[in-house]
């Protein structure tokens, strides 16, 4: 635990808090609770989720507490989650804890969190409570020695799109949104009360510095392989989506052509009819004859792109760190 606290500090120290829409003050208690929750209930690729509680102060969001969603089993299908949340918040209020719902947290597996489910729930959160954030906790990275906690919000643009539910290619094009502009990251500052800080200082003196090995772990292939595997899967999905889109646009253009031809023919016919003094044939039925093909929803593609981006960032970060470590190790070797 101590270790983690140290880590928190270092990460928090590294955070830049410039250009923040909202600055996130995260209380260390929350961090520990989230980690504990994952360690107790999460395994492998399973994710754990929970509710964040806190307050908005000026342009900062202070998250002071949290509680987990209970794990679902099959026999309590009629479990009412909302009811549970309300109950929980009421109870917390009784013990004088902030009871305002300000978002939720979720663990992730190798950084694969950019999904439709996340988008939907974050949208509904943000729709109901404007300042909501989603806190993503990456246990694997944390286990490697650096705490990974990130807070995200949907950009106003994406909120607009989600509100309109227009995921067609045209809609997205009009909204001019790319995968880069879907989520905005909110800087996190981990804050401790002075009392805790004092305690930590005191503890630091007493504790041995010995066990900090995780940071220096040199083995990289396992993590990289896993990331690559996931990355590949997403690339496959992307490919499929592109093919789908390709077929769609081909169909569309083909139909457009047909429509055009038909229109021309109709016009010619009408011209002839006019010369013969007959009434021209109507042109309204054309839309009935040529139903445009169902456009494929593009939101998923965007999400996949976002996810791929995310993976890439992860891999890049990881490799650059590892490279440094390797050089360091080499130097050490030469020294010996």
């Amino acid at each position: 635990k101590e270790q983690r606290k140290e880590n928190h500090k270092s990460v928090a120290g590294g955070m830049k808090n410039t250009a923040a829409l909202i600055l996130l003050f995260l209380f260390s208690q929350v961090v520990l609770k989230i980690i504990k929750h994952y360690q107790e209930e999460g395994q492998g690729s399973e994710v754990v989720q929970g509710v964040l509680l806190g307050l908005v102060v000026d342009d900062r969001l202070e998250i002071t507490n949290c509680f987990p969603f209970p794990q679902h089993t099959e026999d309590d299908a009629d479990f009412d989650e909302v009811q549970y949340q309300m109950e929980m918040m009421r109870s917390l209020r009784h013990v004088n804890i902030d009871h305002l719902h300000v978002g939720w947290y979720q663990s992730t597996y190798y950084g694969s969190f950019v999904s439709r489910a996340l988008l939907d729930s974050q949208f509904s959160y943000q729709h109901a409570i404007e300042e909501s954030v989603v806190l993503i906790y990456d246990p694997i990275k944390t286990a490697q020695g650096s705490l990974s906690l990130k807070a995200y919000r949907l950009t106003p643009k994406l909120m607009e799109i989600c509100k309109e539910k227009d995921f067609t290619p045209e809609g997205l094009k009009k909204a001019n949104i790319g995968f880069e502009h879907m989520f905005e990251e909110v800087p996190i500052v981990i804050k401790n009360s002075h009392l805790i800080n004092v305690l930590l200082w005191e503890l630091e003196d007493k504790s041995t510095v010995a066990d900090k090995h995780e940071l220096l772990n040199l083995s990289s292939s396992n993590h990289l392989e896993k990331s690559l595997q996931l990355l590949m899967d997403r690339v496959d999905d992307m490919s499929q989506d592109i093919v789908k889109y390709n077929t769609y646009s081909r169909n569309l253009s083909k139909q457009q052509q047909q429509k055009h031809q038909y229109l021309q023919r109709r016009q010619q016919e009408n011209a002839q009819r006019q010369s013969r003094g007959e009434p021209p044939l109507p042109e309204e039925d054309i839309n009935k004859m040529f139903k445009p093909p169902q456009p494929p929803p593009r939101m998923d593609t965007l999400l996949i792109a976002g996810q791929i981006n995310n993976y890439c960032q992860n891999v890049k970060e990881f490799t650059s760190q590892n490279l440094g470590k390797l050089f360091m190790a080499e130097a050490l070797q030469g020294h010996n």
Partner: protein, 913 residues
């Protein structure tokens, strides 16, 4: 149309059934045809007339309802009936075409139109009508106007001369009132007489009503009316007569029902009636026979059947006393009996009895073998006919009788060289009498035997294969084979090539699936234990292989129908494969080119083909040709419907897709149980061969993105094994194979071996092979070799070098074998290594990329295709304007890509999209 429903229109159904001559009904039809041929003019005409009667009866019935409706001014009813009438009239069109439009029909049309017009004029009445009726009236009026346009001339003629119809009307009146004047009706208009009949039998069961009536009436009257009925309703009399005679013996259940309707002393009265009936009939018969003797056969065949009926009880009186029994009389008698065949309600058992009696008489009076043969033919045909349903199978006693009869028939044929039989001998050119000329008999013994064989199959299909009964029935197979063998020798002397081919095929069909243990033992050089057994062995004749060879080659050379040859080839291959003559079997299969066009064959042949392929695969497996075995079995196993494809049972899940009719057909196609191929053995052979192929392949291509599955089925089993939450020791055959595969993946051949070959698997699978020991040895060796390969693939990256000696110890293979396997792997570039001869070691080269590198390569490939797809989207959008990327760029990009690529993955990929 079933011939059992057709009281009158026999000719129709006969024609339809004789049209398809290949059907198993064939023998029956040939005789029927002969029967028809012998019928004289009068008879055929009668048939047509009664068909007409039936139609007209329908029409008159409808007309009557219409008239009734007219009387009560029920227009809705009228309309409805009229529509029905039109439909019925349309149905009887071909009769109408022949006979002209019946006057009563025209009369109705005219009357109806008049009546409707009248109603139409009557404004008052129309107002009173309810809405429904009024509507119906207007529709009907329009309809009849339109309809009558077609019959304008007739109606006009009728209107000119309504007298005629009036007469008929009058005629009808007395009939309606009194039931006694049937004879008049017969002379009169057919339609009306039909109507009269209707009056008599408003219920579905005509006999029942008749008997009811007779029961009601007092003694004499009922008999006489019965007699009358019989006069003009001949076919039925046969039923009633024969049934009532049976009734004493308590045979006919349906009749019992009929009689149940009567008063409690039904039996007595019927007995009485019979007594009464008999007397006049006998007299009648005598007269008739006398008549016939004179050559007058007009009504003869008709009445006589009825006459013959009571005789069942008193067999010696088959012929009237004093009649000289000669060939002609017996033939006539035979024909009489045959007339009743196929008619509704004919008691088939009684008929068979009659025929037997006739045969006895013929034999008693020494009428010669010719007539005897003919009667035998008919007996057998009747036996086959006994079951009206094609799907039903013969009862045991019938079957025995049938076998006996055929045996006897063949006895006669063998004893008497001067009997010619053939389907092409016309009925009138038959020579049955004893004379210097050889006998000539119409009929085909081959068809009879073929039918017998089919019946046998049917019996086997319908017996529970796990019962003692099945074993008992199977014992008859020897007899069936015996008969076929005798027929074969007979036909070899007398039959045409075509017939010989057919009988050869039958013989082949009974031989191909049996393993020749005798020959097997002989080939192994084992002698029978005792002297006597050895003698027996020798006396039992040639090897089945030799027989098969001889018969099949004859068929290949002589047969002109494709089907027989195809079947023969398949059976030949099957037989080869069964006896482990793999190369012959394979060559024959390849040379026949059956694989190309078997899908055009009919289902039974396809089933045979599937059986052959499976047998071929199993044979290849026994010979250690794992790849061939896998390929041969792939088609059958991959579908998951092996059971269905081999005709060894129906799949339940397809039940909804087929209806009862299809199911029946499919059931008939099933192969009898004793010919089944063990499905578990089949699956095991397949899975083990898949394992031996797939596991090394998987190890070799662990990181290959374009890895293809060799066997989906096998992968499926592996997945199922993986999904198991708790892995216990393997129970089923599949679990054993899966467990063995897992062991093999690790290169652990001993465990693999113990999973594949152990007590359980022996009893389940391996012991079913004739050469168990050899197969097991082969299998062990294969497992060792493939495990070695797998081991090298999987763990080569761990080693810098490995001694071949160690490998040979690990896998218990000789060093040369190890050497050859490794060399082969190196040559095929499966293993990046080289052999160091002096130290007998394999030196690894370590050129294989690590898994991470592999992954990166894969990713690069995938990204390449992604980019390409993306470009295509651009092309589409910008294509008109010249393209976002110009061609050169793209080309260079692709070239760059080539560096990463091995093989034609890209091309394949492009093919997919």
């Amino acid at each position: 149309m079933s011939r059992f429903f057709a009281t009158g229109s026999d000719s129709e159904s006969e024609e339809s059934s004789s049209a398809d001559e290949i059907t198993p009904k064939a023998p029956g039809t040939t005789f029927k045809q002969s029967l028809l041929l012998s019928d004289d003019e009068e008879d055929t005409k009668r048939v047509v007339r009664s068909a007409k009667d039936k139609r007209f009866e329908e029409l008159t019935n409808l007309i009557k309802t219409i008239r009734n409706a007219m009387k009560i001014r029920d227009m809705a009813k009228c309309l409805e009936e009229f529509e029905q009438l039109c439909r019925a009239f349309l149905k009887s069109k071909n009769i109408v075409d022949k006979e002209g439009v019946p006057p009563f029909y025209i009369r109705l049309l005219a009357d109806l139109e008049d009546y409707l017009n009248q109603l139409w004029e009557d404004k008052e009445g129309k107002k009173k009508m309810n809405k429904n009726n009024a509507k119906a009236l207007s529709t009907l009026r329009q309809k009849i106007r339109k309809y009558n346009r077609d019959y304008e001339t007739e109606i006009a003629a009728y209107k000119e001369n309504p007298q005629e119809s009036a007469d008929e009307e009058e005629e009808k009146e007395p009939e309606d009132s009194g039931a006694s004047s049937e004879s008049e009706a017969e002379d009169g208009d057919e339609g009306v007489s039909a109507k009269a009949f209707l009056k008599k039998k408003p219920e579905a069961a005509p006999e029942a009503s008749k008997f009811l009536k007779s029961a009601k009436g007092s003694g004499d009257e009922s008999t006489s009316s019965d007699e009358d009925d019989d006069e003009d309703w001949g076919s039925d009399t046969v039923d009633s007569g024969s049934e009532s005679s049976d009734e004493g013996e308590g045979k006919s259940a349906s009749l019992a029902v009929v009689f149940l309707k009567k008063t409690h002393d039904a039996d007595k009265s019927s007995e009485k009636k019979l007594g009464k009936k008999k007397k006049p009939k006998k007299k009648e018969r005598l007269e008739e026979e006398a008549e016939e003797e004179g050559g007058e056969e007009v009504e003869g065949g008709w009445e006589k059947v009825k006459g013959g009926v009571p005789l069942v009880k008193e067999k010696p009186k088959m012929f009237a006393k004093g009649t000289e029994i000669n060939t002609a009389v017996v033939v006539k008698k035979l024909n009489e009996i045959l007339q009743a065949r196929g008619k509704k309600g004919t008691d088939r058992a009684a008929q068979i009895e009659l025929l037997h009696a006739l045969a006895a008489i013929a034999a008693e009076n020494n009428l010669g073998q010719g007539i005897l043969v003919k009667i035998k033919f008919n007996i057998i045909a009747s036996l086959y006919d006994y079951n009206p349903n094609l799907a039903a199978f013969m009862k045991a006693d019938m079957w025995k009788k049938c076998l006996d009869c055929i045996d006897e028939l063949l006895d006669i044929l063998f004893e008497n060289n001067n009997i010619f039989i053939g389907e092409n001998i016309a009925e009138d050119s038959e020579n049955l009498g004893v004379s210097d000329q050889p006998f000539r008999v119409r009929g085909c013994v081959l068809t009879l035997v073929e039918r017998m064989d089919e019946e046998f199959t049917k019996i086997m299909q319908n017996t529970d294969p796990h019962s003692q009964e099945y074993v008992d029935n199977l014992k008859d197979e020897g007899r069936v084979c015996g008969i076929i063998d005798r027929l074969l020798t007979y036909l070899e002397n007398k039959g045409s090539t075509e017939e010989i081919c057919r009988v050869y095929l039958r013989r082949i069909m009974h031989t191909y699936y049996k393993f020749d243990y005798k020959a097997h033992r002989r080939s192994l050089g084992l002698q029978g234990e005792s002297k006597s057994e050895q003698d027996q062995e020798e006396s039992e004749g040639e090897d089945s292989a030799v027989i098969m060879d001889r018969l099949c080659k004859f068929i290949y050379a002589k047969d002109r129908t494709d089907r027989i040859r195809t079947c023969a080839i398949l059976c030949h291959i099957y037989h080869h494969a069964l006896h482990s003559r793999w190369y012959q079997a394979r060559d024959l299969m390849l040379m026949s080119h059956l694989q190309d066009n078997i899908q055009h064959a009919d289902p039974p042949v396809q089933i045979l083909y599937n059986r052959t392929m499976v047998q071929l695969g199993i044979c290849a497996f026994r010979q250690g040709m794992i790849k061939d075995a896998h390929n041969a079995l792939l088609d059958i196993q991959s579908s998951g419907r092996a059971k269905e494809l081999l005709g060894q049972g129906l799949l339940m899940r397809n039940m909804q897709e087929r209806n009862a009719e299809q199911e029946k057909i499919e059931k008939r196609r099933q192969v009898p149980f004793h010919m089944h191929i063990n499905l578990e053995l089949l699956e095991c052979v397949y899975l083990v061969s898949a394992m031996l192929l797939e596991i090394p392949y998987m190890a070799a291509h662990e990181f290959d993105a374009r890895r293809r599955m060799i066997s989906k089925q096998f992968h499926h089993q592996l997945r199922v094994g993986e999904r198991q939450p708790l892995l216990g020791p393997p129970e089923s055959m599949r679990e054993h194979v899966v467990a063995a595969s897992k062991a093999m993946k690790m290169g652990d051949w001993r465990t693999c071996h113990s999973f594949i070959i152990n007590e359980k698997m022996n009893s389940k699978v391996w012991d079913l092979f004739p050469e168990t020991q050899r197969v097991r040895e082969m299998l062990v060796r294969k497992i060792q070799e493939e495990s070695l390969r797998t081991y090298l693939f999987t763990y080569s990256s761990v080693y810098d070098s490995i001694s071949m000696e160690t490998l040979s110890e690990m896998f218990e293979l000789e060093i040369p074998t190890v050497h050859s396997i490794i060399s082969k792997m190196i040559i095929n570039e499966e293993l990046m290594a080289s052999l160091d001869q002096p130290t007998q070691t394999v030196v690894m080269h370590r050129t294989e990329p690590t898994s991470l590198q592999n992954m990166a390569l894969q990713l690069a490939e995938k990204l390449g295709s992604l980019v390409e797809n993306n470009e295509r989207v651009f092309d589409l959008k910008q294509g008109v304007y010249g393209g976002y990327f110009n061609r050169d760029q793209k080309g260079s990009y692709q070239q760059k890509q080539q560096g990463y690529q091995r093989g034609g993955y890209r091309n394949q990929n492009q093919g997919n999209y």
